[in-house]
C-alpha cells in the first residue's frame, strides 16, 4: 500500500514534469508542423541557467529568470532561425533543430564542463513535508506539484479565456483561415514557440535539481517527451496531459514492482522457466522492461490509433 501511494505521488510529479515539456512541444508540432528536436535541449538550458542564477542570486530569481531567458532564446530561434529555414520545407526545419541539439549540448559542455552540476534543492524547501507509512515525502516534490498545477491553470486560462488563446486554438487546425481573417499568424507562431520554450525552461529549473543537471539530461528526456506527444495525439493538450501522467506513472511503477511477465501467467496455471528464449523473456523483471514500455506503447498506438489518445488528426 505504501508503495502504491508513494509511487502515485512520484509518478504524478514526474508526469507533470513531462507535461511541462510535452505541452510546448505538442503545441509547436501541431501548429507549425515543426518537430522541434531541440525542445529538450531548452529544458537542459533551463536547468543550467537556474543553477548559475541560483548561485549568484538564489532560487527564487532563478525560478523566474531562467524560464524567461529560455523563452527569449526560443523567440530568437523562431524569428531568426526557423522562419528563414521554413521556406525550404520540413526536412530543412528538422535538420535545423537537430543541429541545435548538438550546438546547445556542446556549448554547455564548453562552458560548464562534462561533470554534473551541483544544482541542489534550495535549503528552504529541503525538508520532509509529511511522513507516510514511515517514508518521507520531500517538500520539494510538493513544491514541484504546486508549480506544475499553477502552470496547468495558467495554460488553461490563457488558451480558453483569452483572445490570443482562441487564435492559437484556431490556428492549430486552420492556420490559413486564421491568417485570411486578418490575424498575424507568424507572430502567433513566435509566441507559441517562445511560450513552449519558456515552459521547457521552467521544467528545467524545477527538474534540474530533482533529477540531475548534466549535459546528457536532454538525451534522457527528449525521446520520452516525443513519445508523450505522439501517444497523446497531435493538437490536443488534454491528450498530452493524460499521456504525460500515464507515462509518468508507468515509469515510476515499473521500477517498484518486482514482477516478471512470467508471474502474470502463474494464476493461469502456466509456469515458465528454463533456458530457452521465451523463458528468458518471461523472467525479465518489470524494472528492466520499464524504460521500454513507453516506446512499446507508442508503437502500438501508431499501429492501431495513429491519431493518438485524443488527437484531432493523424500523426
Amino acid at each position: 500500500m505504501e508503495i502504491v501511494v508513494g509511487s502515485l505521488l512520484n509518478g504524478l510529479v514526474y508526469g507533470m514534469l513531462l507535461f511541462m515539456l510535452a505541452s510546448g512541444l505538442t503545441l509547436i508540432f501541431s501548429m507549425m508542423g515543426v518537430l522541434n528536436f531541440a525542445h529538450a535541449s531548452i529544458y537542459m538550458l533551463g536547468a543550467y541557467f537556474a543553477y548559475e542564477i541560483s548561485r549568484w542570486a538564489g532560487f527564487v530569481p532563478a525560478l523566474i529568470l531562467a524560464p524567461i531567458l529560455c523563452g527569449a532564446i526560443g523567440a530568437a530561434i523562431e524569428i531568426w532561425g526557423l522562419r528563414r529555414v521554413h521556406h525550404n520545407g520540413h526536412i530543412a526545419e528538422l535538420l535545423f533543430t537537430f543541429g541545435l541539439v548538438f550546438i546547445i549540448q556542446r556549448g554547455l559542455q564548453m562552458i560548464w564542463g562534462m561533470l554534473p552540476m551541483p544544482y541542489r534543492v534550495p535549503p528552504a524547501l529541503d525538508f520532509a513535508l509529511f511522513t507516510m507509512y514511515g517514508a518521507n515525502f520531500p517538500a520539494y516534490r510538493g513544491f514541484m506539484l504546486l508549480v506544475s498545477a499553477g502552470m496547468l491553470l495558467a495554460i488553461y486560462l490563457l488558451l480558453k479565456k483569452t483572445r490570443i488563446g482562441l487564435i492559437i486554438q484556431a490556428a492549430l487546425t486552420h492556420p490559413n483561415m486564421v491568417s485570411a481573417l486578418g490575424h498575424n499568424v507568424p507572430v502567433v507562431f513566435t509566441t507559441v514557440f517562445a511560450g513552449g520554450c519558456l515552459l521547457a525552461g521552467l521544467a528545467g529549473v524545477i527538474g534540474g535539481n530533482y533529477l540531475t543537471t548534466e549535459s546528457s539530461m536532454a538525451d534522457a528526456m527528449g525521446p520520452i517527451v516525443f513519445v508523450v506527444v505522439v501517444f497523446g495525439g497531435l493538437g490536443s493538450l488534454g491528450g498530452c496531459f493524460v499521456a504525460s501522467i500515464i507515462m509518468g506513472m508507468i515509469q515510476t511503477f515499473a521500477v517498484v514492482f518486482d514482477y516478471t511477465l512470467g508471474d502474470l501467467l502463474v494464476p493461469l496455471g502456466v509456469s515458465v522457466g528454463g533456458d530457452n528464449l521465451l523463458g528468458e523473456i518471461l523472467t525479465v523483471p518489470m524494472a528492466r522492461i520499464g524504460p521500454l514500455l513507453p516506446y512499446a506503447m507508442m508503437i502500438l498506438m501508431l499501429l492501431f490509433r495513429p491519431r493518438g489518445l485524443l488527437g484531432t488528426r493523424d500523426t
Binding site: R163, L166, I167, Q169, A170, L172, T173, H174, N176, M177, V178, S179, A180, L181, G182, H183, N184, V185, P186, T312
Partner: protein
C-alpha cells in the same frame, strides 16, 4: 474600382492554374465568377488572398496587394469565405464569430446581433462547438465570421455547394443583405439561377482564363458561351 486584377498567373507546384486573368469589381458591385469545376476559380480567390502565390497585378483601391501575406490582404479590407467552410471545429459558434473581428470589441457594419437576427439557428447554438453544426449552418457561420471583420469586398467561394434548396435560399438572402450594406461581392458560383438573379456583372472562366464578361442579360442571350463553358 475596388478590385483590379491584371494578367494574373498562379501555380500549384508544377501545374499552371491561372493563365493571365483580368477582372475588375466596382465599389458595392456584385460580380459572379462562373465556370466548371477545376477551371481555377477557387485558385483565383486564393491568389487574391495571398494563400497561393500570385504572379501579376492585384490592386485594391489602387494599392498593389499582390503577394502580400493573407492577414495584410484581409486588413486592407478584403474578406474571404473558402469553399470548404473552414469553421474552427473545437471553438464555439460565438468564438468563431469573435475571431472574425480583427480587433477585440471593434465592430463595423456587422454585430453579433445582426448575425443572430439573420440566423436564429446560430443564436440558439452560439455556445456549441462549431464542429457539430450542420453543413448549412457551418456555411452561414463561415460567411458571418468573415463579415464580422467588416470587409469592403468579400470573395465568396461556392457558398451553395451541397446545400438543400431552403438553405440555398438563405444564402441568397444573406448575399442580398451584404450587398444592401454597400459591400462588394465577388461570388464564385455554380448555380446559374442565383448568379443571374443577383449579379450586376458576370465572368465566365475556362482553362484558367476569362472567356466571357457581361451582364446577366448578355449571358442569357448568349447560348454558345453557356453551352461551351457552363453546361455539362
Amino acid at each position: 474600382m475596388i478590385l483590379e486584377v491584371r494578367d494574373l498567373h498562379a501555380f500549384y507546384g508544377q501545374s499552371h492554374i491561372l493563365h493571365g486573368v483580368d477582372l475588375t469589381v466596382d465599389e458595392g458591385e456584385i460580380v459572379s465568377l462562373l465556370g466548371r469545376n477545376g477551371v481555377g476559380r477557387s485558385t483565383l480567390c486564393k491568389a487574391i488572398m495571398g494563400l497561393v502565390p500570385p504572379l501579376g497585378s492585384v490592386r485594391y483601391r489602387g494599392k498593389d496587394i499582390a503577394g502580400l501575406r493573407s492577414d495584410l490582404v484581409a486588413r486592407a479590407g478584403i474578406g474571404y469565405v473558402p469553399e470548404d467552410r473552414q469553421v474552427f471545429p473545437t471553438l464555439t459558434v460565438r468564438q468563431n464569430l469573435e475571431l472574425g473581428l480583427k480587433r477585440a470589441g471593434k465592430f463595423g457594419r456587422w454585430t453579433f446581433d445582426d448575425v443572430f437576427r439573420l440566423f436564429p439557428n446560430l443564436a440558439a447554438r452560439q455556445n456549441n462547438p462549431a464542429g457539430v453544426l450542420s453543413g448549412g449552418e457551418q456555411q452561414m457561420l463561415t460567411m458571418c465570421r468573415t463579415l464580422m471583420g467588416d470587409p469592403d469586398l468579400v470573395l465568396i467561394d461556392e457558398p451553395t455547394e451541397g446545400l438543400a434548396p431552403l438553405l440555398v435560399e438563405q444564402v441568397g438572402v444573406l448575399l442580398a443583405e451584404i450587398a444592401s450594406r454597400g459591400v462588394a461581392i465577388l461570388l464564385v458560383e455554380q448555380k446559374l439561377t442565383i448568379a443571374l438573379k443577383i449579379s450586376h456583372r458576370l465572368y465566365v472562366m475556362g482553362h484558367g482564363k476569362i472567356v466571357f464578361e457581361g451582364t446577366p442579360e448578355d449571358l442569357s442571350a448568349n447560348g454558345d458561351i453557356r453551352r461551351e463553358w457552363l453546361e455539362v
